[in-house]
């Protein structure tokens, strides 16, 4: 078991492995997202109140969910990297941040676009869900800025790991804020006591989109990770050998 | 009770460059290890890594045959550090700086006066440290080294900025420290002449 992890964490091995598994993420992602989009946009019935405006749910909810999952992935791998000094884990954390930031941005934008017709406002300063999601975006920014500010990769890894862990406290707050404080943003629809408050024709495409986004996230993460690993190992033998064609040494 | 500092299979990177690999060394009570090497060979980096301020890529440091990672606190209790930068607050006087160092380490300061006299800075205790000249500041750093009463001295270029009398004084102090069973690890560009056991580590 331990040996397996050790091998997994060895950069050249991981680099190859990632290449092999990426298709296993891309294909389901494409399938699920295609199904989710078509079924969500055309076949799901419209909502009794919101009419067709509700269909933005098929982007908003998956994006919001990934924005949080990406942060958790980042914080957990940062923690692993810090404690067990595992470079690959740090690379994972580093690769997560920009993706997470983009999904957070997407969740904020779609939520805001949705809020205009629904609530009657783009943005509500007093709402804890909205505010804590905005804080999430700022946490990503802080993480990225800190990394950019430190030249030495190993130092950047460990410093930013501390920050990622500290910021993790925000995640449960985002999730539970709607239950703790009654405010504008709605409560949970999918995972709630008494089952999802949504008929199957609406729910299935949504679940497909969530899963599809997750696979998509995995694929992008692996891609970024490959570049990240390559960059970090740029001075090592295996990368040089790989970049130079065999016997190409002058 | 004799003590020893040993490094095994040390490997250190700075940036992309490997400074050394598979480096071994050992110092015992009463011995001096002189770290030598041209500019940029990695002396400062080695000393900082031994003290734990930067991380070795690989290898282990043993203090009295225990891995220092296991008991860093204990190792730090036995170590005193003298580096390029003096590490005193420029706004405080020498007396205030030393008083702080001693309470930080729970060392009693009964010998302060004697030590300062020996170093020739007993008249400067009330000036803010920032006002002291380069050499006077290095002498102040030596005062801390003496007062802390650690068994292991790690010194990076202790002779820099000192006048001739100062350099001789440092040699004398090291020699006395070794005679009492202390250990010393020293990086310098000067030639050193002493009657104690001296090993050389060429980087």
């Amino acid at each position: 078991m331990w040996k397996f992890f050790h091998k997994l964490a060895s950069p050249p091995h991981f680099y190859d492995l990632a290449n092999k598994i990426i298709p296993w993420f891309i294909v389901p992602a494409i399938l699920l997202i295609t199904y989710g989009t078509i079924a969500g946009l055309f076949f799901a019935p419209m909502d009794y109140q919101q009419k067709d405006a509700f269909r933005i749910i098929y982007i908003h909810v998956p994006a919001a969910y990934i924005s949080m999952m990406a942060y958790m992935t980042m914080a957990i791998s940062a923690g692993i990297g810090l404690i067990w000094r595992m470079k690959l884990a740090h690379a994972v954390a580093a690769a997560c941040a920009p993706i997470g930031a983009w999904f957070t941005f997407l969740a904020l934008i779609t939520g805001s676009i949705w809020g205009r017709p629904m609530w009657g406002t783009w943005w509500e300063w007093g709402d804890p869900r909205l505010t804590s999601e905005l804080i999430l975006l700022f946490l990503y920014f802080g993480y990225l800025a800190l990394r950019a500010a430190i030249d030495d990769t190993s130092k950047a890894d460990r410093s930013s790991a501390v920050l990622a862990l500290v910021g993790a406290i925000n995640i449960p707050i985002i999730h539970f804020s709607v239950e703790w404080w009654s405010s504008l943003h709605q409560g949970p629809t999918i995972v709630r006591e008494g089952g999802p408050a949504m008929p199957m024709e609406m729910l299935l495409p949504l679940l497909a989109m969530i899963l599809g986004f997750t696979f998509f996230f995995g694929a992008v993460l692996l891609r970024r990770l490959r570049t990240e690993v390559l960059y970090r190992e740029r001075r090592t033998g295996w990368v040089k050998r790989m970049i130079q064609p065999a016997g190409g040494e002058a | 009770m004799p003590a020893s500092l040993r490094g095994e299979k040390l490997c250190l990177f700075r940036g992309e460059r490997c400074l050394f690999q598979g480096l071994d060394f050992q110092v015992n009570s009463g011995e001096l290890l002189l770290v030598e090497g041209a500019n940029g060979s990695g002396k400062t980096s080695l000393l900082r890594a031994i003290a734990g301020l930067i991380l070795f890529e690989d290898g282990t440091i043993y203090w009295n045959d225990t891995d220092v990672e296991k008991d860093r606190q204990g190792f730090l209790r036995s170590m005193a550090w003298l580096a390029h930068r003096v590490g005193f607050k420029g706004d405080l006087s020498l007396a205030e700086n030393l008083r702080f160092e001693m309470s930080l380490r729970s060392v009693d300061g009964s010998e302060t006066q004697k030590v300062l006299q020996r170093l020739g800075i007993e008249r400067l205790t009330e000036l803010p440290l920032r006002a002291l000249s380069a050499g006077q500041q290095r002498r102040s750093a030596l005062a801390r080294l003496l007062l802390v009463k650690a068994r292991l001295w790690i010194m990076d270029e202790p002779f820099a900025n000192l006048d001739r009398a100062g350099r001789e004084l440092v040699l004398e102090l090291i020699s006395e420290h070794l005679d009492e069973g202390g250990l010393c690890m020293l990086a310098a560009h000067q030639e050193i002449e002493m009657n104690n056991v001296m090993h050389r580590l060429m980087l």
């Binding site: 810090l82 505010t131 804080i135 700022f138 946490l139 920014f141 802080g142 800025a145 800190l146 500010a149 430190i150 030495d152 130092k155 460990r158 410093s159 501390v162 920050l163 862990l165 500290v166 910021g167 406290i169 925000n170 | 003290a51 734990g52 301020l53 930067i54 991380l55 606190q73 204990g74 730090l76 209790r77 036995s78 170590m79 550090w81 580096a83 390029h84 930068r85 003096v86 590490g87 005193f88 607050k89 420029g90 706004d91 405080l92 205030e96 702080f100 160092e101 309470s103 930080l104 380490r105 729970s106 060392v107 803010p128 801390r144 802390v148 009463k149 650690a150 068994r151 009492e180 069973g181």
Partner: protein, 232 residues
């Protein structure tokens, strides 16, 4: 050969020594204490100037403005928390002293609060008066600032430890800390507004208390870890 390694150094003594040293330093440079105060006062006067002199609006936005000013003043003074120690090499010496690093960060944070947070709390009533804040709200303002500045100093110590040696001035530090400081700001300002409107304030104060208790438990450790990394 009475080597000091036999004696186990006292934690309390070291803590007090560090607090004393930093207070002494502040005493020798009274600017460190006075500047955040002046800054606080200035920001609090800038707003009325920039927003315009409507009394009603002043009273309405007073708590928010005061709190933002306090937050900024606290942030501004954070930059130098570990910076001077880093630059003159005394951080090396502190990290190499036989004391747990978390003790050192805690001591430095305590001093920071004594030097910059506490005076802010004490001077806030004077500034509140210029915003026409009612008397009992001023009391609440002080309580929230007391709890809030504790959190800010603690959170700030993490940011300061992360950015020491990066030579970025305050901007990066603020960027790292503001997201975490936002809840403090929101609850602080809201609570004072509520107090000004004779409303119940207990929830806000409990929350601020909880936040600073949490910060007190975790921040020194995070700051210690960050400090060791940054000093490399």
């Amino acid at each position: 050969m009475p080597y000091s390694d036999s004696a186990s150094p006292s934690l309390g003594k070291a803590f007090i020594a560090l607090v004393r040293r930093d207070l002494l330093l502040a005493w020798k440079r009274p600017g460190d204490v006075l500047n955040p105060l002046f800054f606080f006062a200035m920001v609090a006067t800038l707003f009325p100037l920039a927003v315009g002199p409507s009394v009603e609006q002043l009273a309405l936005s007073g708590p928010g403005v005061l709190w933002v000013a306090a937050l900024l003043a606290a942030l501004l003074s954070l930059n130098s928390l570990f910076l001077t120690d880093y630059e003159d090499g005394s951080l090396d010496q502190l990290l190499l002293s036989p004391q747990p690093v978390v003790l050192l960060t805690l001591a430095k944070t305590t001093t920071h609060w004594l030097i910059s947070g506490l005076p802010l709390v004490l001077v806030s009533p004077l500034i509140a008066v210029t915003f026409q804040m009612p008397g009992h709200a001023v009391g609440i303002l002080m309580i929230t600032l007391l709890l809030g500045t504790i959190s800010l100093s603690l959170l700030g110590s993490i940011g300061a430890a992360l950015t020491v040696g990066l030579n970025r001035g305050n901007a990066l530090l603020s960027l790292l800390i503001l997201p975490l400081a936002m809840p403090v700001l929101i609850f602080g300002a809201r609570t004072v507004s509520l107090a000004a409107a004779n409303d119940t304030v207990a929830a806000g104060i409990y929350f601020l208390g909880a936040y600073s208790a949490m910060a007190m438990v975790f921040a020194p450790f995070a700051a210690a870890a960050a400090l060791k990394i940054s000093n490399e």
